[in-house]
């Protein structure tokens, strides 16, 4: 790197965590003149975090270049390394990807890391047999509106604690069944959310027929519209490949593909574990949405009434106003990721970010147990949202990673006032429209909402519109 760049990095505290950079001209177009050294960050402890987060912010905004390894000429968008059968991917493909230059190309509304305009919708596909497509036909892909990442670190921490609870319940049931020689049925409940039930048998087999809204490995996956990503890290690695053709070495590198340049972009090990950690740190520390502070009196009054209606109607049975969180310490790697996403056992020590030290933590309420109350308005559970009469959200034809097509993760409503349009592909321009589109498990609440007089329905809208992502963030 050039001396000028080096001086800037030193000033930003970045030099200590960057490694491997060749000296380059000060006008270098590349994003990755050097890479973040995971071990150095972990060893440095909290002192390295500001620089790590700053680097993550840079990377989130950066437009990756050919010289960085952008584009995936010979690889598909698949979650597992998959070569194209033949031919070469175009540098950009609006539909099957790579479809953007930067993370912020989509996640920018109303602030960096937020949601996006419909124009930024993406078209997700498994990327195996029909990896390349030039049609928006849902038989090829599922169109998705951008999910805001505000408060994502808190969301992941909630999911981790829920996973731990569910697995502990399973293990306890198995132990009791083995000990007693009898079937043991257990409700799977964590943080007040019931994920159905299981039956453990004395022979160690567990019957998951009664499972509801979570995968059979009992991992609560809080990211993506369908809830198929366990961690920000896993989501980030996937997104880098799908949208930018930037392949992280921890999944597409030599351990799992035999190649340092699996996609044949010409750039070996384009994204290092440290680079991914920078992106994770940035996302994990994004402040959560808040309640709009400067509401005019009529709106404040209506929102207060709407908040009550939200409970009364039953919306809050899935869109849980708060979820309790025991710890705000975010560790990277995450505890429940599997091979291909950096795991605890693959690093000497992990990176630890205490979110309670961040300014937003002061705004979080706590319960009498000292748990942090995370106002996400979700249960982090999947639900069927379509029925025979109300099926506007049933517009997909493909299951996604074992999740059936009409089943979606309860969207987090914090910030919903800032993230129009609505629905998994942004089909609904107004809040009333998306509420009316709720079928399936949410049908009862939607019907109750429709039974309200218009003025009372408006209060619900007023309440939801008050949940915003502050642009001052």
């Amino acid at each position: 790197m050039s001396k000028i760049i080096a001086r800037r990095l030193v000033a930003a505290g970045l030099l200590a965590i960057l490694t491997g950079g060749a000296y380059a001209a000060s006008w270098d177009e590349r994003v990755f003149a050097s890479h973040v050294d995971f071990d150095a960050v972990a060893a440095a402890g909290p002192s390295a975090l500001p620089a790590l987060i700053a680097r993550g912010r840079e990377l989130f905004k950066a437009k990756f270049t050919t010289a960085d390894g952008a584009g995936r000429p010979k690889a598909t968008q698949a979650i597992v390394p998959t070569h194209r059968k033949f031919g070469v991917n175009p540098a950009f493909s609006r539909l099957s990807g790579p479809d953007s230059d930067s993370c912020s190309g989509c996640h920018n509304d109303p602030v960096l890391g937020g949601s996006g305009d419909t124009v930024a919708n993406v078209f997700v596909s498994e990327g195996f047999e029909s990896a390349e497509f030039d049609s928006t036909d849902p038989s090829f892909s599922s169109e998705r509106h951008t999910v805001a990442l505000m408060g994502a670190g808190l969301v992941e921490l909630l999911a981790r604690e829920m996973t731990a609870d569910l697995r502990a319940e399973r293990d306890a049931a198995v132990a009791r069944a083995r000990q007693s020689g009898q079937d043991v049925e257990t409700d799977l409940v964590t943080k007040g959310v019931r994920f159905g039930a299981l039956k453990a048998r004395a022979d160690g087999i567990v019957d998951f027929d009664g499972l509801d809204g979570v995968d059979a490995d009992l991992t609560v996956r809080p990211f993506s519209r369908k809830g198929v990503f366990t961690s920000l890290r896993q989501f980030t690695i996937n997104a880098l490949n799908i949208h930018h053709g930037m392949e992280a070495s921890e999944r597409y590198g030599v351990r799992w593909t035999g190649s340092h340049d699996f996609d044949e972009s010409g750039v070996p090990d384009a994204v290092t574990p440290g680079d991914v950690s920078a992106l994770v740190a940035f996302q994990a520390t994004l402040p959560p949405p808040t309640v709009k502070a400067d509401l005019p009196p009529d709106w404040r009054e209506a929102a207060a009434e709407g908040e009550k209606q939200f409970e009364t109607l039953g919306c809050a049975s899935c869109h849980r106003p708060t979820m309790p969180l025991k710890s705000l310490v975010f560790t990277d790697p995450a505890p429940y990721d599997t091979a291909g996403t950096l795991r605890d056992g693959e690093v000497k020590e992990g990176i630890s970010i205490d979110l309670s030290k961040l300014p937003f933590a002061a705004q979080l309420k706590r319960n009498d147990k000292g748990e942090w109350l995370i106002p996400l308005y979700s249960d982090l559970k999947r639900h069927l949202v379509v029925d025979a009469q109300v099926s506007a959200l049933g517009n997909e034809l493909q299951a996604q990673r074992f999740v059936e097509r009409d089943v979606f993760l309860t969207p987090r409503l914090w910030g919903v006032g800032s993230t129009a349009p609505y629905g998994h592909r942004g089909d609904f321009r107004m809040l009333n429209e998306i509420i009316v589109a709720h079928g399936g498990d949410a049908r009862f609440a939607r019907d109750a909402y429709l039974d309200l007089p218009k003025a009372q329905r408006e209060t619900v809208i007023a309440f939801l519109r008050s949940l915003v992502i502050e642009t001052s963030q």
Binding site: T82, F128, V174, G204, A216, T338, A339
Partner: protein
């Protein structure tokens, strides 16, 4: 093989058969860290003895107590065979406890090896015990108990020098068909040269209990050191592949018997495509290396190992059993020791394909060891751990993995003994205690251990007598890749295992499992998450997850 053999000739022959020795391949994949802990685990068993026990040296790994953890029964040759019950905890150090088997102790002497299978369909694993003398059918009972069932099952013992075994359920049969392979007839004039005993096939006779009163000879016998029923062309009717030791036969070769239900077994002929191959055949391993749907075979020998692949063109896509040797191009001839500097040919015994680093590629383990003191073959001849690379070729990792011992290895058992998802390894040695390697994970290149790839372990169950679904094929699909496994009884060097079928998944978090049941019917796809034990019961609509109790 006796020390008086004309070994110089054997060595020359061994090398002459190698068409193209493999160039060492670059090792890019994870290398497992294999920690030897037999003594600490309480597993102390030595296979030893005179000439009869230069060969064999195997055992069986199987769940004998319903815990899901594989216990082991190990041959001892002149020493008693022993049962070691697995007391390990999930992910922990290996631990075994010796348990007495309630049969005449004299019958546990002279044991060559063993294979586990549920002969009577009662859900409890039985054992076929290979011996010098009368062979044993040990009926499994609860809590790792066994009773001798030769009489109950009308089995005369098929007396001889038994060195190989295989079993299958022929269509329409309630009980398995047993193939028994013999070595030299020690009492024939001119023994040992040209005096290979004929082999035997026992088909179950009608009735409600196993009845093996009728023997069908498999003639000629060419000193069979390994046998395997294998559905080589996916016809649904497995054939019997026999690997023979050319040290003692005259005019012999490798064999493939057509074993069709209700018909006498018949050797595949030249006219049917079977080609002459004469090796010191010691152990057969089957695996579908490239997901072609047709199995490949590793055949150990003295000198180079063969890897036989069905020649799609000449076999007319499975019409004829025409194979070509791809060991050279795959980097897997393993013909001389890879460390130690001894340039004399290796002696290979047990072979088995398995995924030791969970990267989704089958690796190849080969047990090695001089017959006794054959001067023209390598004295220090470490076992091979050939890791398959993404290029499709194999790279040697035996020394880096920590299994390159100075022992005379024979049989081996590859199983997940502590149910942590990583395959462990038990190696039986001649004249030395067995080694037990716990797979700790992958070497991080800095002296540490990191977790390997994702995995899944699968157990099949179906109603009826063949309740472990021997003969079933399992297809595990992740993305565009499909890995195949087959439930078989036989192969290797007098060693076999039953129970969990391990499949490495690499970075895949999910897999779809399809089963082709022994009657040929394909299941629908079962969805399963990685790093789980999955039971696929044909009688149930969903695959089920299983969890260890300790």
């Amino acid at each position: 093989m006796r020390g008086l053999c004309p070994l110089a000739i054997a060595a020359v022959l061994a090398l002459a058969t190698a068409p193209a020795f493999a160039e060492p391949q670059l090792l890019l994949s994870d290398v497992p860290v294999m920690h030897e802990e037999a003594q600490a685990a309480g597993l102390n068993q030595t296979y030893d003895g005179a000439w009869e026990f230069f060969v064999g040296g195997g055992g069986a790994a199987f769940d004998c107590d319903g815990s899901g953890f594989p216990s082991v029964f190990l041959a001892g040759g002149k020493n008693p065979a022993n049962l070691f019950v697995n007391k390990s905890k999930r992910g922990g150090p290996l631990k075994f406890e010796e348990k007495r088997i309630d049969v005449d102790p004299r019958l546990l002497i002279g044991v060559i090896g063993a294979y586990p299978l549920d002969i009577d369909g009662d859900g409890l694993t039985d054992l076929f015990v290979l011996r010098v003398g009368e062979n044993l059918l040990l009926k499994g009972g609860p809590n790792c108990t066994f009773t001798l069932a030769n009489k109950e099952w009308s089995f005369g013992g098929d007396e001889g020098w038994t060195t190989s075994f295989a079993a299958e359920w022929e269509k329409g049969q309630k009980f398995p068909t047993l193939a028994i392979g013999h070595y030299v007839d020690r009492f024939a004039p001119g023994s040992p040269y040209g005096t290979c005993e004929e082999n035997s096939l026992y088909r179950p006779q009608p009735g409600d209990r196993p009845n093996y009163s009728v023997r069908t000879p498999l003639t000629p016998g060419y000193c069979a050191l390994s046998m395997l029923f294998t559905d080589w062309n996916r016809s649904g009717a497995p054939s019997l592949r026999v690997s023979n030791d050319r040290q003692y036969y005259r005019g012999g070769e490798e064999q493939l018997w057509r074993v069709e239900p209700g018909k006498p077994p018949k050797l595949y002929s030249r006219a049917e495509g079977w080609r002459h191959l004469s090796i010191f055949g010691m152990g057969i391993a089957e695996g579908d290396l490239d997901g072609s749907g047709f199995p490949d075979y590793a055949l150990t020998s003295m000198g180079d190992t063969k890897i036989q692949k069905l020649d799609q063109e000449q076999s007319e896509h499975g019409e004829f059993p025409v194979y070509r040797d791809i060991a050279g191009e795959m980097g897997a001839t393993a013909h001389i020791p890879y460390i130690g500097g001894d340039k004399r040919p290796s002696t290979g015994w047990h072979s088995e394909f398995a995924d030791f680093n969970n990267d989704g590629l089958l690796d190849l383990f080969i047990a090695k060891g001089n017959v006794a003191q054959m001067p023209d073959f390598a004295a220090f001849d470490p076992d091979n751990l050939l890791m398959q690379q993404w290029s499709g070729k194999f790279a040697e990792a035996g020394d880096k993995a920590g299994i390159a011992e100075n022992r005379q290895s024979r049989g081996a058992l590859i199983a997940d003994f502590n149910l942590d998802g990583n395959l462990d390894l038990l190696v039986v040695h001649r004249g030395a205690p067995a080694s037990l390697f716990r797979n700790l994970g992958s070497n991080d290149g800095r002296g540490g251990v990191i977790p390997p790839g994702n995995w899944i372990e699968i157990k099949l169950a179906e109603p009826g007598p063949n309740c472990a679904a021997v003969g079933a094929h399992i297809a595990v699909k992740t993305g565009t890749r499909t890995q195949m496994r087959t439930i078989e009884v036989g192969g290797g060097d007098a060693s076999g295992h039953s129970g969990w079928v391990h499949v490495g998944l690499g970075v895949a978090e999910r897999a779809e499992i399809r089963v082709q049941w022994p009657d040929g019917e394909w299941s629908y796809p079962y969805r399963a998450f990685a790093n789980q034990f999955v039971v696929v019961d044909r009688a149930k609509p969903q695959a089920e997850y299983w969890y260890p109790g300790r």
